[in-house]
Symmetry: C2
């Protein structure tokens, strides 16, 4: 049983080996003609420049946290923190590097049909997927073994938790900064290019096109990768920390192998181990067929994930019986907690799909409402997003109820069951992220086909590949959002226990006025965060719009497409980078500063704050993500020829909805989940200092 | 000291006498020519028809509640409940009757200038104001004296609380039903009339114009009146109930005069008494001058409210020292609680004004964003509304903190201070509602001037009067929303105490899973409620739009304005009535059914539900009200000639924002406040039954 962390470490190394194997196969694929290589290089240069500058900015924040942790908690907590931060940043950087190599190679392969192109895009995504999962698990197991088993330091579990805080810090800034960048570039490219200048999407004359493609990579690839790195690490840390803090008198490092709670400590790592092996096996099953039929392609792409999940479920049952048969905890109950989590995550994804896919009523209704103009489009999208909140809340609560019941015989009073339910959703992170990162690669491949003016048949293939990405993204989003709620709840409970361990007392009774004030403040905070990020996108987009307009105005022959005249794309990339990084500071800092300030003033109020922010932030995140997604697909549904099609008045109305939804679904919504977890994990790590 | 309820009863009678005096002076004023009388009568008929049908529908609900209360709580609770319901409905009916008489009379008086017209409109509003305050206080004092003092029945305070539930029931359905009606008619009139047929607002050819004017009365007059009736009654009930439930072992009716807590019981009634007298005195100071200068008019209109508030502050200090000098409680502290409440209410109003008036940055920014189209207009309004949430939350929390501190030496642990802070906001309800109801009367007067094709100089006067209404409405809204938060919090605490009195135990620890599940559910509920009401407006508006289009299509000569061709306004009124009443049922019932179902399953979860709904619903209500108000005024700012003025592209974008905001600010937002209170008061009344 004590060998589980070592085995998990080995499985993480195997995932990294797989990632490097996929990396070499992607690299070996041909990247196409000079123009394609040029475009790919430009996108790659822009994305790398953004990430480097982002990491430079974030490093100031990280250094401040290192100092704070060293002084207030323990110098070793800083070590753990910085390992989490560096690995998360590395995963983002590696994933983004390969994604920006795989795009042109997918385009080139698409000349020979989907059977060739699908594996290139998938393997590009899989480098990201297995880097994220592999590095996250590797680092966490290393930190656990180092501080808990080998060094047996004091407060070892607090130190392990700091690893999660490091990952969260990077995730927060990546999501906020990347989210602002991608939307600023998107709006700039669309508004000036498509609307004002009347040139098609991804047209080489548009100076913002490269920035737009860079945005897909820094937002959807690097941002999403950092997000899932922290979700995955957090979901394993939460039940471990909960167990450690739930032991009466505190679980010291020295007890961690001998205590009766070893089963509870090992269970999360064992599921992660099983999930990792299952994901690796599944990844070999993804092979493209010759047909561009979307069903066949979709089946090919998802085979890996489906197999990985199936194997994980089987493995979970086995592990539960092995670990809990003679120990504290009910093996069947805990297996049900984990599997229930997986099912709820899947159902959340399906709910998101129901509200955002044009196959179902809500999006069709939004499209129909576009007939009466943009106001009704916006209202029906808002309403659909709000109803989806109610549906998602009920699903999460069902998951919480089942998982709680399943974990009732454990230390941590059922909350342990909730914590392991989150791992159920995220055990197959390697497989899920692979498919999720595939989406932007296929999208970029289409952009390169357009910009390089290749034969339309190539674009057809890339479009077929691209369209698969949406469903997948919905499921991954369901896992991310569901696990965020469950993990935050488990961390919240750990915070309560940690305060008690540190000799403090925490009242979470909302009938007490300070707790209630905290709850109220917590409910207001996500609204402020959403407003700040929406405004940030607005300002960054304005900077971009002005630059694109200036180039069309001042560069002779650009708009007309005169031979040899190229736009200054690099400048657009630089402007978007600078604007989005500047805008990232305030909302990003809020997540860390607010709990620290409140916690040092009144720890009960902090408890209220976390609870209020968690429930309201979850609701707001779901609302924004699903309303945004619904508007996006309503527009696409109309573009497919319904309600008058492209260029009609309903289409114009739908474009308004889509533009409103852009910062909702790609900036504020996804960042909100991390906001919640950062606030909770900051509180947990600093719990003893508050006391 | 025991005479306070009697004196309050007398002051309520005085208020009613004043209302009937104002009624007779309004009635005596000339109503103008035949056309004006016809229009007035049509609006009145429509409004009365709506209210009668609304009350018919609601009576089924009321009867169900009567039966439920009689069985589950006590038959006398049903009596108290039905008194509250009938008086609230009567106040709405009276206010609406006089408002629909005062409109044409104001128009007629406007021919002779604002000095004549202002008093007519004000006195029309004052009938409403003093009917609301007078009936609410009269009924409450009667119920208190009857059950607590005269009959000395068991569980007398639970029975008094049922009075508040009766008022809340009417308020909820009036706000939801009236809010749906007014927006459906407004959208129908605007979209088909102004946009499609290209005829001006309030044009007599438009079949929906009468319905639109009816909507102003049923939404802004009757809905607002019922809202403030229940807010006012609730704010007095909350500290009384809190005191009663806070006495260890329970305060029986027989103790109510002899116990040491008499000061705490009498204090809320005494402030209401002082506020009522102050409001009556203030109302005589409202006199119009000859100038249409907005400063002078505004000063004339607000003199009554300002004087009433000043007198109330002075009286509060005196009463505090009288009641608490020798009893439990700190007189200075309690006076500060009350005055602090008044200041926070005022500041909330000013915050709402800052975010929604075109004199300040946020609305100017929305107007500027209209230059880049409807999407940026919508996004900047959403962001302004969300930032205003953060500002309002901080104000409310400051108020809660101060009021809690001021009330710390009382029974109820400082929450009593919070409860009386709400009375600070609402003691001058008579004066505040008078000015608030003045707004729609002046608005209607303008509509009648237009429809009766009077000289444009008349419209100028009515426009000058109308423009004063906005600031006032903002302040009244601040009081309503602030008091809702404080009252709900005090009722929430009373609920906790009532459960304990009934021998149950209530855990409000959000670390417990059932409380947390309730909290989560509570946070989701306001989103569902908002979505349901937005959709309801959409469906009712569609029914209206189709009818208006049909009439323009099928009635020959209507659109061209042929002599003798009049639209079938009555049919539009009927359609809007039917659609809005049908749509009112589900969201209205939700507020009552959800807490009952959850309460009977798990009372701890109900506690969490109330807390979650309170904080999230408050945030959502502020967001929707202020975003809606900001869009409205950004449109008006552009119509005043900025950013291209009427008919320009920015104006079109601003109209989209305004239309999105319509159900936000007039339906979902205002109804949300009552939703919170209904849920809390239902829980309080049924607390013993849940146990």
């Amino acid at each position: 049983m004590e060998s589980i962390p070592y085995l998990a470490l080995v499985s993480a190394l195997a995932a990294l080996a797989l990632a490097s194997y996929f990396f070499s196969t992607v690299k070996a694929a041909p990247a196409g003609n000079d123009r394609m290589v040029f475009l790919m290089t430009e996108i790659q240069k822009g994305a790398k420049a953004f990430l480097r500058q982002e990491y430079t900015w974030v490093s100031f924040f990280v250094i401040a946290m290192i100092i704070l942790l060293a002084i207030v908690i323990a110098p070793l907590a800083s070590v753990s923190y910085v390992i989490g931060a560096i690995l998360s940043a590395s995963a983002g950087y590696i994933g983004m590097t390969v994604a920006t190599m795989a795009n042109a190679r997918t385009t080139e392969a698409a000349k020979e049909g989907p059977a060739k192109a699908l594996p290139v895009a998938y393997r590009g995504g899989a480098v990201m997927g297995f880097s994220v999962a592999g590095l996250a698990l590797l680092g966490l197991m290393f930190v656990y073994l180092l501080f808990v088993i080998w060094l047996e330091v004091d407060d070892a579990f607090e130190i392990v938790t700091a690893y999660g805080l490091g990952a969260s810090s990077i995730a927060l800034f990546s999501r906020v900064g990347g989210g602002i960048y991608t939307k600023a570039a998107d709006v700039g490219a669309d508004l000036v290019g498509k609307v004002e200048a009347g040139i098609p999407e991804d047209d080489p004359r548009n100076p913002a096109t490269i920035a737009d493609n860079v945005g897909d990579n820094v937002g959807d690839v690097a941002g999403m990768g950092a997000d899932l790195f922290e979700s995955y690490a957090g979901s394993i840390i939460a039940p471990v920390a909960l167990t450690a803090f739930a032991v009466t008198g505190g679980l010291e490092a020295a007890d961690a192998t001998s205590s009766g709670v070893i089963g509870q400590l090992m269970f999360p790592m064992a599921i992660a181990l099983v999930g990792m092996i299952a994901s690796i096996l599944g990844s070999f099953l993804v092979k493209g067929g010759d047909s561009t039929d979307s069903k066949a392609l979709s089946h090919a792409l998802h085979r890996g994930t489906n197999v990985a999940m199936g194997l994980t479920i089987v493995g979970t049952v086995g592990i539960s019986f092995w670990l809990f048969d003679s120990a504290q905890g009910n093996p069947i109950g805990l297996a049900i907690s984990v599997i229930g989590g997986l099912i709820v995550g899947w159902a959340l994804g399906k709910t998101a799909e129901f509200y955002t896919s044009d196959h179902f009523g809500p999006v069709k209704k939004i499209a129909a409402q576009s007939e009466t103009g943009p106001a009704t489009t916006v209202l029906s999208g808002i309403s659909a997003g709000m109803v989806s909140v109610a549906a998602s809340v009920i699903l999460v609560l069902a998951g919480i109820g089942v998982a709680y019941w399943g974990g009732e015989e454990t230390l941590g009073n059922g909350i342990y069951g909730i914590a392991v339910a989150a791992i159920g959703m995220l055990a197959t992170t390697g497989a899920v992220v692979s498919v999720d990162a595939y989406g932007p690669i296929a999208d970029n491949a289409g952009g390169i086909a357009e910009m390089a003016e290749l034969d339309p048949s190539v674009r057809e293939v890339t479009d077929a590949l691209d369209s698969l990405g949406n469903t997948t993204a919905a499921i991954a989003k369901g896992f991310a959002v569901g696990s965020a709620a469950l993990t935050a709840l488990a961390l919240f409970k750990s915070f309560e226990l940690a305060v008690q361990q540190a000799g403090g007392s925490l009242t979470l009774n909302v009938g007490e006025v300070d707790v209630f004030i905290g709850l109220f403040l917590g409910a207001g905070l996500p609204f402020l965060f959403a407003a700040l990020t929406i405004d940030a996108v607005g300002r960054a987009a304005t900077a971009m719009i002005e630059e694109v307009r200036r180039q069309f105005r001042e560069v002779p022959g650009l708009r007309e497409g005169k031979e040899g005249v190229t736009p200054d794309s690099a400048r657009c990339v630089a402007i978007s980078t600078e604007a989005s990084l500047k805008e990232m500071i305030i909302p990003g800092s809020l997540a860390v500063v607010v709990p620290l300030v409140v916690g040092f003033i009144d720890i009960d109020a902090l408890g209220g704050l976390l609870a209020g922010a968690l429930v309201t932030g979850f609701a707001l995140a779901i609302f924004m993500a699903n309303a945004g997604g619904a508007w996006d697909n309503a527009k696409k549904y109309i573009e497919a020829g319904n309600h008058g099609g492209k260029g009609s008045d309903p289409h114009k109305a739908a474009v308004v909805g889509d533009t409103v939804g852009d910062p909702f679904k790609d900036t504020s919504g996804p960042a909100m989940n991390i906001l919640l977890k950062v606030m909770t994990i900051v509180s947990l790590v600093f719990a003893s200092a508050f006391v």
